[in-house]
Symmetry: C2
Subunit: 214 residues, 2 copies
DNA sequence: GTCTATAATTGGATAGAC
DNA sequence: GTCTATCCAATTATAGAC
């Protein structure tokens, strides 16, 4: 059961098609520049028909935010509480998050923009994302304390990491790379930036995949 | 002379104050979500008075784009044509661009969003920025060919780099770090990510600052 | 569940006085 | 150079028929 929660598969309901189309438009034109008419037209219905499926335009975006955050936040917080090398946990976070973002049926690269993440209308989701950021920063702080990571302000490094994820996600959504390869390239790039000794990367990758990666 | 081109200093004209305020609002609320009324109110004038200084809302953004691109593009293209180690040139590009972005009187972090960079209304500026991207990618390709940089697709790495710059710029605009230190931290982070041998970083930094950095 | 018709509001921009 | 008054287009959302 709950096969729907795992993958919507082929039989897209209208509601599902709205989410697919809206995520694509939000990603390319931005949230505020995307009109409900455009969404409706792309779906193949009239503008007022949208409101049978969602009570508002905001609700569409909120549903998309949930589809990402409800997976990413619990996973990151579990990793933050975990003991074990911070390097391995950071690797696991990056691989899990990127894989989820890229394999999502929705184009999630338009969600985490300033126009959305500073809009009071989305405060509860902004708060959720803050928790994600705190979790990442805890892992980074652990790695700095253990001497695994270069000693930079965790807030700065976390911002850099999220910047990379969002931008490269845009790339991945456009031209479909070999997802698996693409994902590993980005993770390696980030890990090399923060590791004091990048030569440890293969060993860290192995450890990350043995434990929780399967 | 041309002291104005270097720094607008204290005596801000209304036109200058419009640019300052608009850049701040574009950065936090996004371009489309920012209304001309908000800009006018923040400046201390009425909405129609804006149109004495700029023919349209678009023109305000276009002026801000020019203030960045007219500096960044020629510099990056000169570095791309240059011979000499790609690592040193990449370092110079990063330091120059970040310094310029951070020291600008305008908050430029709202300019390079999808809602702007995919809007046909800004096509000439989008083209300018494509030239910047091509220049960066040429430097990256040189570094890969010379065996200095890790062998990843240059488009992916360039996207990651611009992602870092835009996001950390947001940070820098908020809480004012020691700019000099902050800038070097970001540059080092990026260089470590792309260098095959990060131990070379101090030497590269020295070379970058000797030559064109002064 | 989708439609037509339309309400209610807000957006960028203009006209013309001062 | 700024103002008031206003236009016109576009936007989200609702009402109610089918």
């Amino acid at each position: 059961m709950t096969a729907r929660a795992v993958e919507p598969a082929v039989p897209s309901s209208t509601r599902e098609r709205i989410l697919l189309v809206a995520s694509e438009l939000f990603a390319t034109r931005g949230y505020h520049a995307t009109t409900t008419r455009e969404i409706a037209t792309a779906v193949g219905i009239r503008q007022p028909s949208l409101f049978h499926h969602f009570p508002s335009k905001e609700a569409i975006l909120q549903t998309l935010l949930d589809s990402d955050l409800d997976v990413a936040v619990p996973h990151a917080e579990a990793l933050a509480k975990d003991r074990g090398p911070a390097s391995v946990r950071l690797y696991q976070y990056l691989e899990h998050d990127l894989t989820h973002l890229i394999s999502s049926p929705y184009n999630l690269s338009g969600l985490y923009t300033e126009e959305v993440m500073r809009d009071p209308a989305f405060e509860p989701w902004i708060a959720k994302r803050r928790r994600l950021h705190r979790a990442i920063e805890r892992i980074l702080a652990d790695g700095v304390a253990a001497g695994e990571f270069v000693d930079l302000p965790v807030e700065v490094v976390r911002e850099a990491i999220t910047g990379i994820l969002v931008r490269t996600l845009t790339l991945a959504s456009g031209e479909h790379h070999e997802d698996r390869v693409f994902c590993e390239q980005i993770v390696s790039l980030v890990m090399r930036a923060v590791l004091k000794d990048p030569a440890r990367l293969p060993e860290i990758r192995r450890a990350a995949r043995e434990e929780g990666g399967g």
